[in-house]
């Protein structure tokens, strides 16, 4: 009811506490069907063989029931009942022992930064808002006070099949006043569903559709598979003529989409979704073709043009416009993903960086519910003073417990948690560096020698005051300005060596990260996670903004910086560097190979033979 719902779609989340509608016992409780077991299925008439088979079936039924009740009991411990006083409330689900829990944006939007959450252990916990994804209707909160919270395992939701059993645990109609959640069971009705944005945001892409009852108040709660693994976050349902009650058509944000955004959320950022900068349409013969494209988009720079057929995006085939939107809608802004297009029968694979759908200011405005705009003064709100927004409170208005855990900053939900994640990753990087044994005189310049894959020798020297590279084609040199003084900004970067997009600058920033962490100048934040070819999975990403340049460092779980992605300026073509380390790990600063790509082309592959000192 907070949002202008799209026709026939609503967000069941914020059930109003004051709503008179919901006194009905709407909880679909399981297991009633067990009572309907046939009385021995007429075994008496059918002789001992049949009786034995019935016994076996009965055993299987009882075993299945036991599995189900066990899965539900375990999952129920992870269910969070969110109460936000007069603002309503909703559901959530714990995903880590230190108290991180997922819920919907539209549940926490009225609740604000600080909230109270109940678990089925009968206790109330204080919780603080960590990160928001307004477009994807996701929010991450952190429950406080324990490091051993029961938590659910995020499953691979791409393995879910239509017809799978599933169950929903949550706080429908805010019935869980005793903190015991309600359970409803059903089957998966559809997968890879696309639900248009309700109003301007809250797009549900690639979502799961279930017939388990999802009612107002279930929003933000978990959707579980038969084994009790978390496959989605419930948040939306279709309705038509009966009002806001379940009609057997509910939608959940897939666990895989959640996983894509989890890094951004944990970093306290205001997440944005991705756009290709191009629109697609179905052609007369059923192909998905580019119908329009921005010349400022990365896809354009990589060569995508109008009428090209889009064949695959981010590793998934695109057979319909919906499939395209589904795939795109699950990706965070800034990710670099492969795209396959076909022109004149010939397929081409490119890697494109996806832009954000919104500007930071737009997101901030969405989060504040449009409160940034000047409004007609109302009673209680003096002219020019917008009403207080629960998501951007004054620190002194927060409970004392929460105050040290909240730090406002533009573009972030709660910058405090960015510091937490940044520290976590930097500690890991430092640990890796220490584990490899710091060479004496590390402040000295780093000299790499070796051979290029395409032939010829090379020499790279990285130091605080200068960097140079010797290639068969010549020598290039770059001097970082003001680096030693640790000033916040570089005076400027250049693209040396020519054709690399700024490899020397990128390597200098990499060296500085390894040596100085966040004391190396510029603005370093925890950016989130992104898939890296180097590890195959998601890697933590740190983003350094310095002067006009921007570098993103991918850090693998072992603390190795496995890739650097560098832009000289916001409009420059990237210099992409991938480090490969020896199988035994080796030194953090001594990769086996360094592969450098620029503007979608291979610049060089460096095989390192020697590092001094």
């Amino acid at each position: 009811m907070r949002f202008p719902a799209a026709p026939r779609s609503w967000h069941p989340g914020a059930a109003s506490a004051a709503s008179p509608l919901f006194r009905v016992p709407a909880v679909a409780v399981i297991a009633a069907s067990l009572l309907a077991l046939p009385p021995a299925a007429g075994a008496g008439d059918q002789g001992p063989a049949s009786s034995m088979s019935t016994d076996r079936q009965l055993d299987r039924v009882l075993a299945a029931e036991q599995r189900r009740t066990a899965a539900i009991a375990t999952a129920s411990e992870t269910a969070v009942a969110i109460f936000a006083g007069a603002a309503g409330g909703g559901s959530g689900v714990l995903i880590s022992p230190d108290g991180y829990a997922l819920t919907n944006f539209h549940v926490v939007q009225p609740a604000g930064i600080a909230m109270r959450c109940g678990l089925n252990d009968g206790r109330l916990y204080d919780a603080v808002l960590v990160g928001l994804d307004p477009t994807g209707d996701l929010a991450l909160i952190k429950l406080l006070g324990r490091d051993d919270f029961p938590h659910a395992e995020l499953a691979d939701s791409d393995r879910v099949v239509v017809g799978d059993d599933c169950f929903v645990i949550g706080n429908p109609f805010l019935l869980a006043t005793d903190l015991n959640p309600s359970v409803s069971v059903g089957v998966v009705s559809g997968i890879h569903r696309y639900q248009f944005p309700a109003g301007t945001i809250l797009e549900y892409a690639d979502c799961l559709q279930v017939d388990a009852a999802i009612n107002p108040g279930n929003s933000g709660g978990g959707l579980f598979d038969a084994a009790g693994r978390l496959i989605g976050i419930n948040g939306r349902a279709s309705f038509e003529k009966r009002g806001r009650i379940n009609v057997g058509v509910g939608y959940a944000i897939s666990a895989n989409q959640v996983r894509n955004f989890l890094g951004v959320l944990k970093g306290g950022r205001l997440a944005d979704h991705a756009t290709l900068g191009a629109t697609v349409a179905t052609s007369f013969d059923g192909r998905v073709v580019v119908s329009d494209i921005l010349e400022s988009s990365d896809a354009w720079r990589r060569g995508l043009r109008i009428d090209d057929e889009v064949v695959a995006l981010a590793g998934r085939p695109v057979r319909s416009v919906n499939a395209f939107k589904n795939m795109l809608g699950t990706l965070p802004a800034g990710w670099r993903v492969p795209l396959v297009y076909r022109r004149g029968g010939r397929p081409t694979e490119i890697v494109v960086e996806l832009a954000g759908v919104h500007t930071t200011a737009m997101l901030a405005d969405i989060v504040s519910g449009g409160r940034g705009k000047p409004k007609r003064p109302g009673p209680g709100h003096p002219e020019g003073q917008p009403p207080p927004n629960p998501l951007t409170p004054k620190p002194e208005d927060l409970p004392e417990l929460i105050r040290p855990l909240y730090e406002p900053r533009l573009g972030f939900t709660n910058f405090h948690f960015n510091r937490v994640e940044l520290r976590r990753v930097l500690d890991r990087v430092a640990e890796r560096a220490a584990g490899a044994g710091k060479p004496a005189g590390e402040r000295a310049s780093w000299n790499f020698r070796g051979r290029l894959e395409q032939g010829g020798a090379f020499e790279i020297e990285l130091a605080d005051a200068a960097a140079s590279i010797g290639l068969p084609t010549g020598v290039s040199r770059w001097e970082p300005v003001a680096a030693e003084a640790g000033l916040a900004a570089e005076a400027g970067f250049d693209a040396s060596p020519p054709g690399s997009g700024g490899m020397l600058a990128a390597l200098t920033l990499w060296r500085r990260l390894l040596l100085d962490g966040d004391r190396g100048g510029g603005r370093l934040i925890y950016w989130g996670q992104q898939p890296t070819a180097a590890t195959g999975g998601l890697a933590d990403v740190l983003e350094l903004t310095t002067g006009a340049g921007r570098a993103r460092f991918s850090v693998d779980p072992a603390g190795a910086v496995v890739a650097v992605d560098f832009l000289l300026s916001p409009t420059a073509e990237p210099c992409e560097i991938v480090f490969a380390f020896p199988a035994d790990g080796g030194s953090a600063r001594q990769p086996e190979t360094i592969v450098v790509d620029h503007a979608g082309r291979r610049f060089a592959t460096f095989r390192i033979e020697e590092l001094t000192p």
Partner: protein, 350 residues
């Protein structure tokens, strides 16, 4: 991660409900397999409409390998072009072959070959009350292109004669329907497919109607045998199967040989004034002064209702009248309903 974890509900289904139906043992992931098998025989239909309450989309069931599709008769079919999208995303234009107005069932045709289909049988047995069922439909139009129709699960809660309406539209069908405990009364669901947990065809999801006695939105399905009869009726090309026939017309009891007392009041009782010789009424033994109180299972209180109830029947339907004679109720059988003279308005629209 193993799919084998998923058989708790299907097992229950078979044991709890389907034992009288079949002796087979439930297999793991049954709803998954049954749903997938059935979904290949279900199509999404797109036609006219789009204003609130009048959906431009619904569901259909393939019933012949060459492309016959049964669906609910609705305004969505009142279109020059009906788009039919198969489970694999293939798109066909569909033609309206005809309709069974009483069952509100339409038959469409697409140019298909070797299509996966359900075979209909007018002697299909009814599923027991309590049977667990799967419902597949194009609900809310959420599945587009090659996306699969939605799957829901439920239980047959009752098998009872339909009494339903929506506003001024009263359901013409008065026979048995399966009443379901899951909500299949949703936009796009009419014409959807009801199966058991082995994927066997049980019926066709009904229209978006309210139960007449309670006003509650009703989730129901036309049983498979009735679907088969409707389909046969359309194929046989019997009169009244033309989809262009307008609303039901009152039926003149004189065509059965019944002459009633003059209809002077708002609710003139249906007293028989005379019985025409060699008529159906005469053959059934009706007599002057009989008071007609029922047509089939439906009670009537006046002559107007008698004409309306007879008008619901189709030519060829069995006519049974209940009459009060000398203080007792007598049931009479008048054989098949003779056709009415063609109404002047009937036009071919195709």
């Amino acid at each position: 991660m193993s799919r084998g974890q998923n058989f708790s509900l299907p097992l229950l289904a078979v044991l709890a409900a389907a034992v009288p139906l079949c002796g087979t043992t439930a297999a793991a992931g049954e709803a998954t397999a049954a749903g997938a098998a059935a979904a290949r025989r279900v199509v999404k239909l797109y036609g006219a409409g789009g204003i609130r309450g009048l959906e431009a989309y619904q569901t259909g069931i393939i019933v012949s390998p060459t492309g016959h599709i049964v669906t609910a008769l609705s305004t969505a079919l009142d279109s020059e072009v009906i788009d039919c999208v198969l489970d694999d995303g293939r798109r066909y234009p569909a033609r309206l072959l005809g309709a069974d107005l009483r069952r509100e069932l339409a038959v469409l045709e697409i140019d298909g070959e070797n299509l996966p289909c359900f075979s209909l049988s007018a002697t299909a047995s009814r599923a027991a009350v309590g049977s667990r069922v799967l419902a597949l439909s194009n609900l809310f139009g959420v599945a587009v292109g090659d996306e699969r129709v939605s799957l829901q699960h439920g239980v047959i809660a009752a098998c009872v004669p339909l009494q339903a309406r929506r506003g001024s539209h009263e359901a013409a069908y008065r026979g048995d329907v399966y009443v379901l405990d899951c909500t299949t009364n949703n936009p796009g669901s009419p014409g959807g497919c009801l199966t058991d947990w082995q994927g066997r065809f049980l019926g066709m999801l009904g229209k978006e109607l309210r139960a007449e006695p309670s006003g509650i939105w009703l989730s129901y399905a036309l049983p498979a045998d009735e679907v088969a009869r409707g389909y046969e009726q359309v194929l046989s090309g019997k009169p009244s199967s033309s989809p262009t026939v307008g609303p039901e017309q009152d039926y003149d009891p004189a065509l059965l040989g019944l002459v009633l007392v003059p209809d002077l009041l708002d609710k003139t009782p249906a007293f028989v004034e005379a019985v025409l010789p060699e008529s159906a009424a005469a053959a059934a033994g009706l007599e002057p002064d009989d008071l007609v109180v029922a047509v089939g299972d439906r009670t009537i209180t006046c002559q107007r209702q008698l004409r309306q109830e007879l008008g619901r029947l189709l030519p060829g339907d069995a006519v049974r009248l209940g009459v009060i004679r000398g203080g007792t109720i007598v049931s009479t059988d008048l054989g098949e309903l003779p056709p009415q003279p063609e109404p002047a308005v009937a036009e071919e629209a195709q």
